[in-house]
């Protein structure tokens, strides 16, 4: 299993992501954003977290103009698996690989803390090792995590089981940290090969560091 991790200027979670997948036994490769193609042996491409281009203009907006994004679109259109974490999620919505947009957090603060999430759908490669309604504990760290989608887009997400994760408290009650529509923390595209979430599963790989709940999430991609 080989995982490519995209690096833009300002990406800062690429090595954490690399470590997380290495722990899961994957071969990894950092893909510089100037690359014009995705190596053909990649089983998964991750757009990692950070602040690509300093979040100038809008989070993820300038990154979408990078050469690798054209290649990523072709890769995804051909069924290749893509995961966007945090800034990577913002880049994927800006590119149109995922629906909706990420706005400034409703309370205007940058939020960096552990948060509980409820698994809404596991009918996909990413969360297939999680149970529906399972509560996981995953760190969030973002300023622009307020997921927005219009009403028709939202009903389409539900109709196709594209809503993957919601922000809750430890008992599974909705606890919305950033104003996201329906407290949504993660989604996938209609064909379920492109995934995006604001929380950082790659930062939840060791119980010693607060949680290892990210492990079973990322493990979903292994041998999927």
């Amino acid at each position: 299993m080989k995982v490519g991790i995209i690096q833009f200027p300002g990406t800062n979670c690429e090595y954490d992501t690399q470590h997380a997948f290495a722990v899961l036994g994957c071969e990894t490769q950092i893909l510089w954003h100037k690359e014009e193609s995705i190596p053909s042996d990649m089983d998964l491409v991750v757009a990692a977290g950070g602040f690509s281009y300093g979040d100038y203009l809008r989070s993820g907006a300038i990154a979408k103009m990078s050469p690798i994004m054209k290649a990523l679109k072709i890769y995804a259109d051909n069924g290749g698996k893509v995961l966007g974490i945090c800034n990577g999620f913002q880049v994927l919505t800006e590119t149109g690989l995922l629906p909706g947009a990420l706005k400034r957090n409703e309370g205007l603060h940058f939020i960096s803390r552990h948060h509980h999430l409820k698994v809404i759908s596991n009918d996909n490669d990413f969360l297939r090792h999680c149970r529906v309604d399972e509560i996981v504990n995953i760190p969030i760290a973002h300023h622009d995590g307020n997921f927005y989608i219009d009403a028709s887009g939202l009903s389409e997400l539900y109709a196709n089981n594209q809503v993957l994760l919601k922000y809750t408290d430890g008992s599974g009650n909705i606890d919305n940290p950033n104003g996201s529509v329906d407290s949504i923390a993660g989604i996938c595209n209609k064909s379920k090969n492109v995934f995006g979430l604001m929380p950082h599963p790659e930062r939840a790989m060791e119980a010693l560091l607060g949680s290892k709940d990210g492990k079973q999430m990322l493990e979903g991609f292994i041998n999927a």
Binding site: L57, R58, A61, I62, K64, M65, T93, E94, G100, A101, K103, R104, N105, E106, G107, L108, N146, Y148, I149, G179
Partner: protein, 80 residues
């Protein structure tokens, strides 16, 4: 030729920054404030002498990059 582009959140998309500024103004006794919206202005100097063509090009820039039309609207003003 110069293009002035104003980008704002669409009506119906909550503008948290606008609300915060509105709150601050009201709190400072500016009673006449009814609503505040915060947006951004992008000023583009262009090598273009045809205003219609300039506007078309800037509209294309807005669709491609300057605005996220899922949540934002834009207005373009061309100055000679």
């Amino acid at each position: 030729m110069k293009a002035i582009v104003n980008v704002f959140l669409k009506n119906g998309v909550l503008d948290s920054q606008g609300k915060a500024v509105q709150h601050a103004l009201s709190g400072h006794g500016f009673d006449s404030v009814k609503d505040v919206r915060v947006g951004k202005q992008i000023i583009i100097e262009m090598n273009e002498s045809d205003a219609t063509l300039a506007k078309e090009k800037v509209a294309h820039m807005c669709e491609e990059l300057l605005a996220n039309t899922v949540i934002e609207d834009y207005e373009i003003e061309i100055q000679a």
